[in-house]
């Protein structure tokens, strides 16, 4: 009896401790608490359960459904392990509460439908056939109230309840195979037929979803606003007010002529041509839903909690900036950060995001890769876009340095900001645009630097920046060291490595001889066994190893998921960065992960195998007929499939951001446990022996 009250109390207390978000020192959202079963259960077990519960009227239908369950289960599980999906975090928990509120009249669905927040900037939500609703943070950042969220969830629940994903798959196959009603369809009409069917499903979800929504106590008046959000989903949020003085000081002033562009009207079309779209256009959807809702009015904008909604929305907006930085959409990130800065002036995260956005813009301008289409920027944001577009690379560098330096003055221990400053200073040194005298405000540098000269005069300690410049001048950035080895076997290891962390090992298997070419279940078993192989090889080489394998998670291993989330974000940004060699916008986050795992060396590895039929069997048969003594060899060749195996291993030092080792091999061999083991051993062998 006591426990009955104690347990919820403890959960509230502990939950509160975990969930509280300090927006001044904002930390990115990561999964928390015990890992849900959706993430820990093996895919092949899920598939077996789906097969068991499957109802099919014919062998053909059973085969089609089996294929669907197999493909969709593995595809969903891939997404769940990608690091983008959150659970037990503040946002997902709030989403769950709203969903349960919506489903109150449908108790059989409560618990059956699960919901998770997704770190994606796209304004979208989607549902899987097995009852998972994913809601992107991009959508949450735009919604205006809880009632709108409730409507979106009502719509998504229908996709699950009516098995829309399965139906769309089966119909898609029927269209491709020209079965039944699609017998006489032409090739050109196939895409149209699929689009039409998809739109029918969406309309059904809107209509039936409206019925669910109407049974709730949420405000019916809020629904129209959702369609306005959808209408402008592809456009950046507009700043309420942009004043270039936020970038300026007394004498560091931008010319007004730099803001030559100002567009005042939003002109997104809601009645666009949707003949090839999966959804009806916004106007049609809005009219249909409003007809369904009819004259019903009233209801609450918030039922669970208004403050919780606004906190969740704020988190989503903070995360949007982080995602835009990672996706190198620096102007979008700057726009979002400046907007937040007006209401969160004390947030270090927002201040640093402004500086990091400017850093990214400066780097892109130095590589001539900064592109902006002014047409998509409206109102006040168009002034910002115009200013940023019109400043040159040097000016962008100085502007970024000015903001970075202010962040540094605020927190000297911020490694990421310090690295960005030094990186930009080195870039300017390399182009001959920087000397300590350049910022001597007593000198006249002529027209070009008339304002950049004063960039640091309002800093708390302007001389500190000059000291950085002098120190960087003494240590000019060395020519990037050429990696040893061919492109597929790079080695840049400069220290003894005691420990590595293997991140989310992958395995893919394709058998082109089979109808079901992708061999998901076999591949999953290989991935599960990979831990043992990696540990065994590392053990032989006296190398400590830790594996963040999302295929072998237990409910308590949330730290693995947390590290996986940040590391995958970091890796994708690294690939995006390419030759620009930028300091990662989440350098500090990944450094924390490195500290937790007690190593800077993170290894991504995986394997893919393809099996296909051999060619030239006719010649073999003919040869064996002429020369029977070669029959044993012909038979062996005849019955042995041709196999190719692709192996990759990339090891990064997350502190130096160097690709320390690459091991890329395309082997003309059929895959086997021993072959994989041998490759893993070789990679680890190179790591433990490769100190230059």
């Amino acid at each position: 009896m006591m426990m009955k009250f104690l347990l919820p109390g403890l959960m509230v207390l502990l939950g509160g401790a975990v969930l509280a978000q300090n927006f001044d020192q904002y930390k990115t959202l990561v999964p928390a608490g015990p890992i849900p079963r959706d993430f820990t259960e093996k895919s092949f077990v899920k598939v077996a359960a789906e097969f068991k519960n499957m109802s099919a009227s014919s062998t053909s239908s059973r085969r089609t459904k089996s294929r669907f369950y197999l493909e969709s289960t593995f595809s969903i599980d891939d997404f769940l392990s990608s690091g983008s999906v959150l659970f037990n975090d503040q946002v997902s928990l709030y989403l769950r509460d709203v969903l349960n509120e919506v489903l109150k009249p449908y108790p059989h669905l409560i618990g059956k439908v699960r919901i998770y927040a997704v770190k994606s900037p796209v304004v979208n939500a989607f549902t899987t056939n097995n009852g998972i609703i994913f809601v992107n943070l991009g959508l949450l950042s735009r919604l205006e109230n809880e009632a709108q969220l409730a409507f979106v969830l009502s719509h998504e629940v229908i996709h699950y309840e009516k098995q829309h994903i399965l139906n769309a798959y089966i119909t898609g196959l029927d269209i491709d195979r020209r079965n039944g009603n699609y017998k006489n369809i032409s090739s050109e009409e196939r895409g149209f037929a699929k689009s039409t069917y998809s739109k029918e499903l969406e309309s059904e979800a809107d209509q039936a979803g409206s019925e669910i929504f109407l049974k709730s106590n949420y405000s019916k008046d809020s629904v129209e606003g959702i369609f306005t959000i959808l209408k402008y989903a592809d456009l950046p949020l507009s700043l309420k007010k942009f004043d270039k003085r936020i970038f300026e000081s007394r004498r560091y002033v931008f010319q007004d002529s730099l803001m030559r562009f100002e567009k005042t009207s939003l002109d997104a079309d809601e009645d666009y041509d949707d003949s090839k779209s999966s959804h009806p256009n916004v106007r049609k959807r809005k009219e249909a839903v409003l007809r369904k809702i009819g004259g019903k009015r009233g209801g609450k904008l918030f039922i669970i909690s208004e403050s919780a909604f606004h906190t969740v929305k704020k988190i989503a907006r903070y995360e949007m900036i982080r995602m835009q930085l990672l996706e190198h959409q620096f102007l979008y990130a700057l726009n979002g950060a400046l907007d937040l800065q007006s209401t969160n002036p004390h947030s270090d995260f927002v201040r640093e995001s402004v500086a990091k956005s400017l850093y990214g813009i400066a780097k892109q301008k130095s590589y001539d890769e900064f592109e902006v289409s002014l047409e998509e920027w409206n109102d006040e944001s168009s002034k910002l876009a115009s200013l940023i577009k019109n400043i040159d690379s040097y000016e962008a560098h100085v502007l970024a340095l000015r903001h970075l330096y202010k962040c540094r003055e605020n927190n000297l221990a911020n490694k990421e900001i310090d690295l960005m400053i030094r990186d930009l200073v080195q870039s300017l040194i390399a182009t001959g645009d920087l000397s300590p005298d350049r910022f001597d405000i007593s000198k006249d540098w002529g027209n070009r630097q008339r304002y950049t000269q004063y960039a640091f005069e309002d800093a708390e300690r302007p001389s500190g920046f000059i000291e950085i410049v002098k120190s960087e001048l003494k240590n000019p950035r060395a020519e990037r060291k050429q990696a040893s080895g061919r492109y597929n076997e790079i080695t840049m290891i400069t220290e003894d490595i005691d420990k590595i962390v293997v991140v989310n090992p992958k395995y893919r298997k394709t058998d082109r001889r089979k109808r079901q070419r992708t061999r998901h279940i076999q591949a999953e078993k290989v991935v599960i066994d990979m831990n043992e192989k990696i540990h065994a090889s590392a053990g032989k080489l006296n190398l400590l190893s830790e594996i963040l394998n999302t295929n072998t998670l237990t409910p308590t291993e949330v730290r693995t998921m947390q590290s996986n989330t940040i590391l995958n974000d970091w890796l994708q940004e690294q690939f995006r960065s390419g030759d620009q060699r930028m300091i990662s916008p989440i350098y500090n986050e990944v450094a924390e992960v490195a500290a937790i795992h007690k190593t800077d060396h993170f290894l991504w590895l995986g394997c893919s195998s393809v099996i296909q039929k051999k060619k030239g069997k006719g010649y073999l048969i003919a040869s064996a007929a002429i020369m029977p003594s070669i029959l044993p060899w012909s038979a062996a060749y005849f019955f042995t499939p041709r196999g190719r195996t692709y192996y990759f291993a990339l090891m990064f030092n997350v502190k130096t951001q160097e690709l320390e080792l690459s091991d890329l091999r395309s082997m003309s061999m059929k895959d086997s446990a021993s072959l994989l083991e041998s490759n893993i051993f070789y990679t680890l062998f190179r790591i433990s022996n490769a100190k230059e």
């Binding site: 065994a536 090889s537 032989k540 080489l541 020369m627 029977p628 003594s629 070669i630 029959l631 060899w633 062996a636 091999r665 395309s666 082997m667 003309s668 061999m669 059929k670 086997s672 021993s674 072959l675 083991e677 041998s678 490759n679 051993f681 070789y682 062998f685 190179r686 022996n689």
Partner: protein, 246 residues
């Protein structure tokens, strides 16, 4: 020869230790090869041939699946990521023909021919170069080329079980070999080797340039032995099982 092998391990091994991954750190491989070759150019120990080439050496048996075998033991040691050095020993066993003099019913001298067996052994060094860039796999798994130098010693016997040599002195011939193939792991530490091998036995080539009618019985037996040794090594499939102990 074994001393040479030990020397290679002692001197070449440590030099390459830092760069030789082997199979999970194991570099030594012990192979047992069958080396079957269709009995096209030389009879097998049963004196059967795949084709009747109407040669005097034809022993009268024809069998489409007649093979010669050369049982072989090889010990390979990886001295570099892509290179291994091996000691090899093989047992030579094939067919030949021999000639002897006899008399007919009228006591007239007759030149007689009879099937016989060749027995002997070969030993030498094998250098295996793994074609890393071709198969991209980590040796000892993967495709390879071999160059070998062996010395063969053989003699003609009445039949395979006979211990009595026909020729007073064994024929000793160096054999230069070249092979290509691939090695795959069948099970833990168990390797399968498949490929082909070409061998060039350096023997006197009277059998190519002269007519057998001019030869004495001893010459006939000797030259046919040369021919057998040459043809026996000329081509064979390479099929073997290997074990990786350490």
């Amino acid at each position: 020869m074994s001393r040479l092998f030990i020397l290679i391990i002692v001197f070449a091994g440590p030099a390459g230790f830092g760069q030789v991954p082997g199979y999970l750190g194991k570099r030594f491989t012990f192979f047992m090869d069958a080396n079957p070759a269709p009995a096209l150019l030389v009879q097998n120990t049963n004196n059967a041939l795949v084709l009747n080439n109407d040669d005097p050496s034809y022993a009268g048996k024809k069998n489409s699946f007649a093979f010669n075998f050369r049982p072989q033991l090889t010990m390979d040691y990886l001295i570099h990521r892509d290179v291994s050095v091996g000691l090899t020993f093989s047992y030579v066993m094939t067919g030949t023909t021999r000639s002897f003099s006899s008399t007919d019913e009228a006591n007239q001298p007759l030149r007689m021919f009879d099937g016989a067996s060749v027995k002997g052994e070969s030993a030498g060094l094998v250098f295996k170069f793994f074609r890393f860039r071709h198969s991209s796999s980590i040796p000892p798994i993967g495709m390879y080329k071999t160059i070998s130098l062996q010395v063969t010693r053989a003699n003609t016997y009445d039949h395979f079980n006979s211990k009595e040599k026909i020729l007073l002195e064994d024929v000793v011939a160096p054999v230069l070999g070249f092979g290509i193939g691939r090695q795959t792991i069948l099970a833990r530490n168990l390797l399968l080797k498949t490929g082909v091998e070409f061998g060039f036995a350096i023997v006197p080539y009277h059998f190519l340039t002269e007519s057998a009618d001019d030869w004495s019985a001893e010459q006939f037996t000797t030259y046919r032995l040369h021919q057998s040794i040459f043809s026996y090594h000329l081509f064979n499939f390479s099929v073997g099982l290997g074990y990786i102990p350490f």
